[in-house]
Amino acid sequence: MEIILAIGIGILTASGVWLLLRPRTFQVIIGLGLLGYAVNLFIFAMGRLKAGAPPLVHPGKVDTSAYADPVPQALVLTAIVISFALTALYLVVLLTARGITGTDHVDGHEAE
């Protein structure tokens, strides 16, 4: 399981970074999205992988080893929402820049 997820995170990261380095603004937004997934999964994985143990406790004595780590989950939850806001903001900046500069190059003008 771990090896699969690690490879998956690696491929998501590589695709994201490749797109981040491209000259077109839309490529960058997709790259940010992919990199976002990779990072969220990476943080989530810091809590180790545990199947069938959601952190929903029962009142009374708690056996902490029987539950998945809730801390990375809470961190990732807000990160998901914030990454949506980031995508939206970037999208609007991208569209505005396209309108103003007449090009979708990240520098605001075509490379010489």
């Binding site: 990261t13 999205g33 989950q73 914030i82």
Partner: protein
């Protein structure tokens, strides 16, 4: 009234007045002046009420905890010396306010001036009354800052801009050194408390860190008090309105430096280092300032250099390090403040009534301005050290001390000689000032015809000159007791015997005084005409500190630009490349030093399942395909990216994170809608546009990027694997799992974490979300889409053409028909999605769900309606006000947090109780649920605002194309 309140009044009143004055209308000159003078008079009265306490030798204190872990507190501490200084600040402030009321032109924004002036007064009082060294530095920097604003008050004038900038650069730089200095001093002593520091003289002087601390603190003091070689900012600061010069640049701010030297005198003075640095700087400044002052043709320039010279005198006295010299220094601080402030005010009057400050133009003003002339002559005589005036007394003490210069130093004979020369120069420029301005034939070519100023503009000068005379004639009855406890508060038991009488018999200091008086006057008679003709000071005129400063600043700018040119890039791609490479290198270095520790940790690997492997094959293909297609096939890229999102949601489900999965899926929906809305405004990029043959350079670039991307991916994969395969579990997560129910009242630990344990963090995050939504909304209000994507979309054009070809069809029929079934479905899902959102919200504390998920779900319900029937149809029926949702959400969360203050608990403490509602069974009734409600509201507002702001662009451009009859456009 109690002592703490009396202490707070002079400190806080000016700040309150400053804030109040800033709200006055621009033309409210009288209201602002009344406010300011009331504030300073209240301060004076409060200080006078404290007189009995201070006079009895006590120290008034007031303290509030600030940063207890660093032992930094807000402490007010008022001893005799601080009281005297605070009184000077407040009383001269009151006089300056009165003067400024008449000086400032009604055309200027006068309330702003008084607001700055009051804020400065507060900051200066803060410096004087500080009982904590860090606090002292804070107010110290504030005085620099408000001085900057006051010098640059006439912000259209270039000399004001430059003067203000120079003053700020020099004094704020000194302030930073001072901060470093007090930190070192605090480290030696082990406390920032002034009382502790002042009691640790031996500890400090024997410390190896003494010299660094001394140098840094002196940097602060000498820059502030305009001592050579940092003197040059003061003459440039004369671009300020004259009340500012009278207040800041003679009586208060420039005295902050010598105040600091006196304050730390018991701790730092008395060593050879102190003597050489402080004494040397003082002596040089004394002579240099006096010499340069002689050659000034600008009235205020003369006074500025004279101020520099007198500050040098005080510094020299402090540098001597003897108790008697300290007495003389404190006495001269008071005397100089009175006569120099009155002289500046007189100069301002002359400037105001004649229109010029040029000594060579002015002449014979005693005929037209007899009162002002008389006052200025007395004040200038005090400056020159004429007997029966206050300046004479302290100067006499100075000369006596100069004779006492400690034996064993090589220049013991030099000190009295140079002191006499400096006094003679001081007489020379005073005589020149008086003779040029008030005597001789009346000038004929003045810009204005001179006359006496208004009655109350002259009053502050009269009062200050009266003080000069009274202190000069009956010192024992006036200044003696105040000076007595001021000195005692600094020196304690080491206070020496000293006499303030006017007559000490015929002695050497008296002789030196007379030599100076006669020598200075004779020099004026002999050289007066030649001095008037000189453009700049003889000998030293060629050296200009200001020019050196400007050259240094220009050099700094040029080298900064050079660095940017060398190290920076204008190309975004290169910047990102450098960032990614740096991140990879950081990871490599860390792994290289620490290793991955694969061997040490007991590795546990779970066997890969087929299902999991399959979904990740899908995700990997999706990611790679998205990377490949994002340039020309954007829609495909969006869909492929969503595929990765779905797989990551499935991964969350697989490994016990239902909350994350729910949120991820919902966010995936809104992100998809968002990107599709955006694509409408991004002109197509077709493969045909691509260059047919890629050149070598771009192929090389791509190869490099592939290498970087592969390395980055490899690094993340290895790191993730290394962490995942070692045993987990932390104290933190165990604690949270155990305490979630007993302390947070919820079974869903992730939710309890978000709305209870980590609620402050969540509050910050939703605030960011709200700000982003508002930013997007604001950006789109003036949105100009790309030229190519204006007008109707291509799909729409095809549909319309088809509709027109058939007679029985109306325009828009095809769209309606295509959307018929989806739109019915979408419309009918509205209540169900809202029910789902409500469900997610209510169960959130115990089961997967919660405010974030509920908020996003709710916004999906709204956005589906927009998609089904278009923005106009929805908004005719349903008024969604996302701004209110955002504001309401923030308000609810913040108020929930603040409610705990009512019960004396820290911000965002939650309270919970389990209750049971009919039919719904047991529900948690925690305040965290209210907090979660705020989160949900804000998320709905923010998401809907972002999406509808983009959606509305279609309506707007549609209006622009067809202003009369706009067809409704589906979103």
């Amino acid at each position: 009234m109690n002592q703490a309140l009396l202490l707070l009044i002079p400190f806080a009143t000016p700040f309150i007045a400053a804030i109040a004055a800033s709200f006055l209308p621009t033309k409210a000159r009288n209201a602002a002046a009344t406010l300011a003078s009331a504030a300073s008079l209240i301060g004076v009265i409060a200080l006078l009420c404290l007189y009995p306490v201070i006079a009895s030798g006590q120290v008034a204190r007031f303290a509030v905890e600030w940063l207890p872990t660093l032992d930094i507190a807000f402490r007010l501490r008022l001893d005799g010396f601080a009281w005297l200084f605070a009184l000077i600040v407040q009383a001269i402030g009151a006089l300056v306010v009165l003067y400024a009321r008449y000086y400032m032109s009604p055309e200027d924004p006068v309330p702003r001036f008084f607001s700055f002036l009051m804020a400065f007064m507060g900051a200066m009082t803060g410096v004087v009354m500080s009982g904590d060294m860090i606090q002292l530095v804070l107010f110290w920097e504030l005085t620099s800052f408000f001085s900057f604003l006051l010098i640059g008050y006439w912000n259209h004038s270039e000399s004001a801009q430059n003067g203000a900038r120079m003053a700020l650069t020099v004094t704020a730089l000194g302030g930073l050194c001072l901060l470093a200095g007090v930190v070192v001093l605090g480290r030696i002593v082990g406390s920032f408390d002034m009382d502790v520091v002042l009691a640790s003289a031996d500890l400090v002087k024997n410390s190896p860190l003494y010299l660094p601390a001394l140098c840094l603190i002196l940097m602060g003091a000498l820059t502030k008090s305009a001592q050579f070689p940092f003197h040059f900012w003061l003459p440039r600061a004369m671009a300020a309105p004259t009340p500012v010069s009278a207040y800041l640049h003679s009586a208060t701010m420039v005295k902050a430096g010598v105040f600091l030297l006196v304050r730390f005198w018991p701790v730092l003075a008395g060593t050879p280092e102190w003597g050489y640095i402080v004494g040397g700087a003082g002596m040089f400044t004394l002579l240099f300032g006096a010499w340069t002052a002689v050659f000034q043709n600008d009235l205020k320039g003369l006074l500025a250099y004279s101020t520099i010279s007198h500050l040098g005198l005080i510094t020299l006295l402090l540098g001597m390090g003897t108790p008697l010299a300290l007495v003389a220094a404190i006495f001269h601080i008071v005397n100089h403040a009175t006569f120099k402030a009155s002289l500046f005010m007189a100069a301002g009057v002359i400037d105001h009534e004649t229109g010029t400050r040029d000594l060579r133009k002015l002449s014979g003003l005693r005929k037209t301005m007899p009162y002002t002339a008389a006052l200025a002559i007395v004040a200038a005589a005090a400056m020159a050290g004429v007997p029966l005036l206050n300046g004479f007394l302290s100067k006499e003490m100075f000369l006596a001390e100069a004779l006492q210069a400690p034996e064993g130093r090589d220049f013991s004979l030099m000190v009295p000689i140079l002191a006499t020369v400096a006094s003679a120069l001081s007489v020379l420029y005073s005589v020149r000032f008086i003779h040029q301005v008030f005597f001789g034939p009346p000038a004929t070519d003045l810009p204005k015809s001179p006359h006496e100023p208004p009655r109350w503009m002259r009053f502050p000068i009269e009062l200050l000159v009266l003080i000069c005379v009274v202190v000069g004639t009956i010192p024992a009855l006036t200044i003696a007791p105040v000076l007595g406890f001021a000195v005692k508060s600094v020196l304690g038991d080491a206070t020496p015997y000293y006499s303030l009488s006017i007559w000490h018999g015929f002695n050497l200091p008296l002789l030196m005084s007379f030599i100076a008086l006669i020598g200075g006057t004779t020099a004026y008679v002999l050289f007066g005409k030649r001095i008037n003709r000189a453009d700049k000071a003889w000998i030293v005129g060629r050296f200009s500190g200001a020019r050196a400063f400007e050259r240094a600043m220009r050099w700094l700018n040029i080298s900064a630009e050079w660095m940017v040119l060398q190290l920076g890039s204008k190309k975004q791609q290169w910047r990102i490349r450098v960032l990614v490479i740096a991140a990879i290198l950081a990871g490599l270095v860390a792994a290289g030093f620490g290793g991955l520790g694969m061997k040490e940790a007991g590795i546990t690997i779970q066997r890969p399942g087929i299902g999991f492997t399959l979904i990740w094959i899908v995700a990997s293909v999706c990611a790679l395909a998205a990377a490949w297609q994002a340039k020309y096939h954007r829609l495909a890229a969006v869909i492929l990216m969503a595929g990765c999102g779905v797989v990551s949601a499935l991964t969350f489900v697989w490994f016990s994170a239902p909350d994350l999965a729910v949120t991820q899926i919902l966010v995936e929906i809104v992100t998809g809608v968002l990107l599709l809305l955006g694509l409408r405004w991004l002109p197509k990029r077709s493969v045909a546009m691509a260059p047919s043959k890629t050149d070598f350079a771009s192929r090389r670039r791509r190869a490099m990027d592939i290498a970087i991307a592969t390395l980055a991916g490899l690094g993340m994969a290895v790191m993730a694997f290394a962490v995942m395969t070692r045993p987990g579990g932390s104290h933190l997560s165990s604690f949270l799992l155990e305490e979630s129910y007993p302390r947070g009242g919820g079974r869903n630990v992730v939710n309890v974490l978000l709305v209870d344990f980590r609620a402050f963090d969540t509050l910050g995050e939703i605030t960011v979300l709200g700000i982003v939504a508002l930013t997007i909304w604001a950006l789109l209000r003036r949105f100009r889409p790309a030229e190519e994507s204006r007008g109707i979309t291509e799909q729409r054009r095809v549909q319309d053409r088809h509709d027109k070809q058939h007679e029985q069809r109306q325009s828009g029929d095809t769209l309606r028909e295509t959307m018929l079934i989806p739109s019915v479905v979408m419309k009918w899902t509205f209540p169900f999605i809202i029910l789902l959102a409500l469900h997610l919200f209510l169960r959130g504390h115990d089961l997967p769900g919660g405010g974030f998920a509920a908020g996003v779900a709710m916004s999906v319900a709204f956005i589906l309606q927009y998609m089904a029937e278009g923005a106009r149809w929805v908004e005719e029926r349903l008024r969604i006000r996302p701004l209110y949702w955002i504001g309401g959400g923030l308000l609810i969360t913040t108020l929930t947090g603040m409610a705990s203050w009512l019960f004396n608990y820290p911000f965002l403490t939650t309270y919970f109780q389990y209750g049971s509602l009919p039919w719904v069974e047991k529900v948690p009734l925690a305040t965290a649920v209210i907090f979660d409600l705020g989160v949900a509201l804000l998320v709905v507002g923010a998401t809907v605002l972002m999406l509808t702001a983009i959606a509305h662009q279609s309506l707007r451009t549609a209006r622009e194309i067809e202003p009369v009859k706009a067809p409704e456009e589906g979103v």
